[in-house]
């Protein structure tokens, strides 16, 4: 407290603090006692914090407090609780059939939420965060499915992959007709133009359709089928539609026919638990509604 010099304000009869600004003096108005006591109590309370909670940094660690409280341990407990809560819901997901999940709005919402997270962690590097795909990596939002687009077929693909080395993986590949010397250069150009003609794309001048059809029948029909409609059993794409995994221009097609194609999709069975795989299948199917 400042010395108030016994200065008494004549108007109020109160003493002043002795502070004066342009003739205006500050009255000495002490705090109420309960306020001062409360203030001291907060200081005492703060000391209690030092003792009870981790407070002071030491050279290599810090004081841990009486109860050994740690917010990191709290997080671990909360995460464990979360897993427990999720456990019940994921069990429900694991027990339901794929078709039932899509019919039940609550399960569908759960599967989509779970699937989206897992998709982001595991699938997005190749297929993109929204499943939009890229050259060589199929777009999962469309209605064109190399290995079939029903819920069960999608789950099958996720579980075992394609050319993944898993015993149950999808097998079958596009041969390297040029590299292996099966077809000669001009034959490859001809059949590439023939493939373009299947989906109504333009062909180069002087293209011999009959010759192209003959080469196609001898080399390609086995997998791509009559008329090039594709075969999901072998992962052979439909060549008559508007979707091209490796590009539809002549150069890309020549490249594909010469070098062959054998994209790999890893198997997720064993790496993700069955309920999670189910959620992912439902999520992927819901992106574009499958086929």
């Amino acid at each position: 407290m400042t010395d108030h010099h016994g200065d008494i304000d004549s108007v109020t009869g109160k003493s002043t603090t002795g502070h004066e600004w342009d003739g205006i003096k500050e009255l000495n108005t002490p705090l109420p006692r309960w306020w001062v006591i409360s203030f001291y109590l907060t200081i005492v309370w703060a000391i209690g914090y030092w003792i009870v909670y981790p407070a002071w940094p030491l050279i290599s660690s810090n004081t841990t407090g009486l109860f050994g409280y740690s917010s990191r341990a709290d997080v671990a407990v909360e995460l464990a609780n979360l897993e427990k809560i999720r456990g019940d819901k994921m069990a429900a997901l694991g027990a339901a059939s794929l078709a039932d999940i899509e019919k039940d709005p609550a399960l569908l919402a759960l599967a989509r939420a779970k699937g989206k997270t897992v998709f982001g962690d595991n699938c997005a590097p190749c297929h993109g965060s929204g499943g939009a795909g890229a050259k060589g990596f199929p777009n999962l939002n469309d209605d064109d499915w190399l290995w079939g687009g029903t819920l069960d077929q999608i789950m099958q693909t996720i579980r075992f992959g394609a050319r993944s080395g898993h015993a149950k993986a999808h097998e079958g590949q596009m041969l390297a007709f040029g590299k292996d010397g099966v077809l000669k250069g001009d034959e490859i150009v001809t059949v590439a133009n023939y493939v373009r003609s299947l989906s109504g794309l333009s062909t180069r001048n002087g293209f011999d359709a009959a010759k192209g059809e003959k080469i196609f029948a001898e080399n390609c029909v086995a997998c791509h089928g009559d008329g090039g409609k594709g075969n999901p059993e072998m992962g052979a794409p439909n060549l008559t539609d508007k979707i091209w995994l490796y590009g539809s221009d002549e150069a890309s097609l020549i490249d594909t026919i010469s070098q062959g194609r054998a994209g790999v999709m890893p198997a997720w069975e064993g790496r993700l638990d069955p309920a999670t795989i189910k959620a992912m299948a439902v999520y992927v199917h819901s992106l574009g509604g499958g086929k």
Partner: protein, 487 residues
């Protein structure tokens, strides 16, 4: 601190002022009169509403809560009689708070601290606790005497025990009523009594019991003087026309006892009507002397008016030596002019207009708000998908809100580029191209909507598309607009 002798200091009082001041205990005396009656009435009304409102029932149909006023936190709903609010409609409370604030300003510009004196929970509960204290320990003089005497007789101990028991009961009921607003009241009362209520309910009752007991039993006027910001704000908002509880010093001064007044009047000297009986001070719940003029501590409860009126009636002088008045009128009376009361003035008209405008907007929006709503979010990755037949598909996340008390069957239409077809993932609609779904009452549904434009329609890069959500039964429509994008 080492002080050098200063000649001026030698004559002055050298000791420092106190670091703190002890709370001066206030012993308000009981009083009767107009304002006391108004205060009793308002107290009964306010506490009655607070304690019993949770038990008022309101039929909202099967499966919906039947409590008239309910804050349903787990389900994020607020019920107020016929109104049900969702979390995103919390802005109605903003309007309510604006109205409340301006109403406070209006009260203040008309009659000073009406809120503080009559309606504030701190005042109401403190008043109630004082009533209990008076009932158990007696009036002002008795309480002062009892507090002074140090002897603890059995009677005194039982008195103190009784007072605190009643206080705690009231405090406990106050905390108890609070939690009833957050759960079905009859059910919760049953659970509370059988110790089956959730722990959080007991914790809140405990907290509010403690705050009520401490604030109304001990802190009392200290809350108003030191803790509440309103006295400071009020002082900045008041003006010269506002009526405040005022000692009419023009009439009261010079204070003279009844006997002396007769002598002085006989000599032709001027004397005031105030007989310096200190009744206004005795009844004051904040322990101040109103005759010192407007003060921060004064909550303007009007009890000093009652006290003074009673004295004036007894000695045969006109009432309202203390009354709702202002300095302008005191001055006018001193100049021999008639007082002027100007309730209607720019300030009060403006406040009333703001209250009417905000209140009107709130009522209008509340009355015309839609109970069916739709929000649409376009997929960003990918924005558009080309299908095998060359057609273009966009995907949208559609959130449907059914705020009504019944299930709805709704149809979704997308109007944009020609020949759009729509499909909802997971729904096999009986009406192809016009998905129909059921949204349960009082809930939201999130859907994934696929909208496809045929290849030959060849839409532009980005075309607006309007989503119409129609209640098949009632014809109610909600719309949202987004874009249809082509790759």
């Amino acid at each position: 601190m080492n002080k050098t002798a200063n000649p001026n200091d030698l004559t002055s009082n050298d000791d420092d002022g106190p670091l703190y001041v002890a709370q001066k205990k206030v012993y308000p005396q009981s009083v009767s009169g107009t304002f006391r009656r108004i205060k009793w009435g308002l107290m009964a009304f306010c506490l009655g509403v607070y304690y019993f409102l949770p038990f008022v029932r309101w039929n909202r149909g099967l499966g919906a809560p039947s409590q008239a006023v309910l804050i349903d936190l787990p389900n994020s709903r607020f019920y107020f009689f016929f109104i049900e609010l969702w979390p995103q409609e919390v802005y109605y409370f903003t309007g309510l708070l604006i109205v409340a604030a301006v109403a406070l300003f209006l009260m203040n510009s008309v009659g000073g601290r009406i809120w503080c004196g009559y309606l504030c929970p701190q005042t109401v509960w403190t008043d109630l606790f004082y009533a209990v204290e008076r009932f158990v320990e007696g009036d002002r003089r008795e309480r002062m005497k009892k507090d002074k005497s140090s002897g603890l007789t059995l009677k005194r101990v039982s008195e103190i025990a009784l007072k605190h028991s009643i206080w705690l009961l009231i405090a406990w009921w106050t905390g108890g009523a609070w939690v009833l607003y957050f759960n079905d009241a009859p059910t919760l009362v049953k659970e509370l009594l059988t110790f089956q209520a959730p722990m959080i309910a007991y914790i809140w009752i405990g907290i509010l019991t403690a705050t009520t007991y401490v604030l109304a039993g001990y802190m009392r006027e200290q809350v108003c003087t030191y803790m509440c910001p309103w006295p400071r704000i009020q002082a900045a908002l008041t003006d010269e026309w506002a009526l405040n509880v005022t000692y009419r010093y023009d009439r009261g001064e010079k204070r003279t006892s009844v006997k002396k007044a007769i002598e002085l009047r006989a000599l032709g000297e001027h004397v005031g009507d105030c007989v310096d009986c200190y009744q206004c001070v005795a009844v004051c719940p904040t322990g101040i002397d109103i005759r010192n003029g407007p003060q921060l501590e004064c909550i303007q409860c009007g009890l000093c008016i009652d006290a003074c009126d009673n004295v004036m009636t007894k000695i045969g002088r006109p009432k309202r030596l203390i009354g709702y008045d202002n300095d302008i009128n005191i001055q006018r009376r001193q100049e021999g002019k008639a007082p002027v009361y100007r309730i209607v003035r720019a300030r009060t008209v403006a406040y009333s207009a703001i209250i009417a405008a905000v209140g009107g907007i709130m009522i209008y929006t509340l009355a015309t708000r839609s109970l069916l709503d739709v929000n649409v979010l376009h997929d960003r990755n990918p924005v558009a998908v080309k299908l095998s037949d060359g057609s273009i598909r966009n995907a949208y996340t559609v959130r449907l809100l059914n705020k009504s008390g019944y299930d709805r069957v709704i149809a979704i239409d997308a109007n944009g580029p020609a020949n759009l077809t729509t499909h909802v993932v997971g729904i096999d609609s009986v009406t192809p191209d016009r998905p129909m779904i059921v949204i349960p009452r009082d809930s939201t549904s999130e859907l994934r909507l696929l909208v496809t434009a045929p290849a030959e329609s060849n839409p532009e890069k980005s075309v607006p598309v309007r989503f119409h959500v129609t209640d098949i039964g009632l014809g109610e429509v909600a719309t949202a607009t987004d874009n249809f994008v082509s790759p």
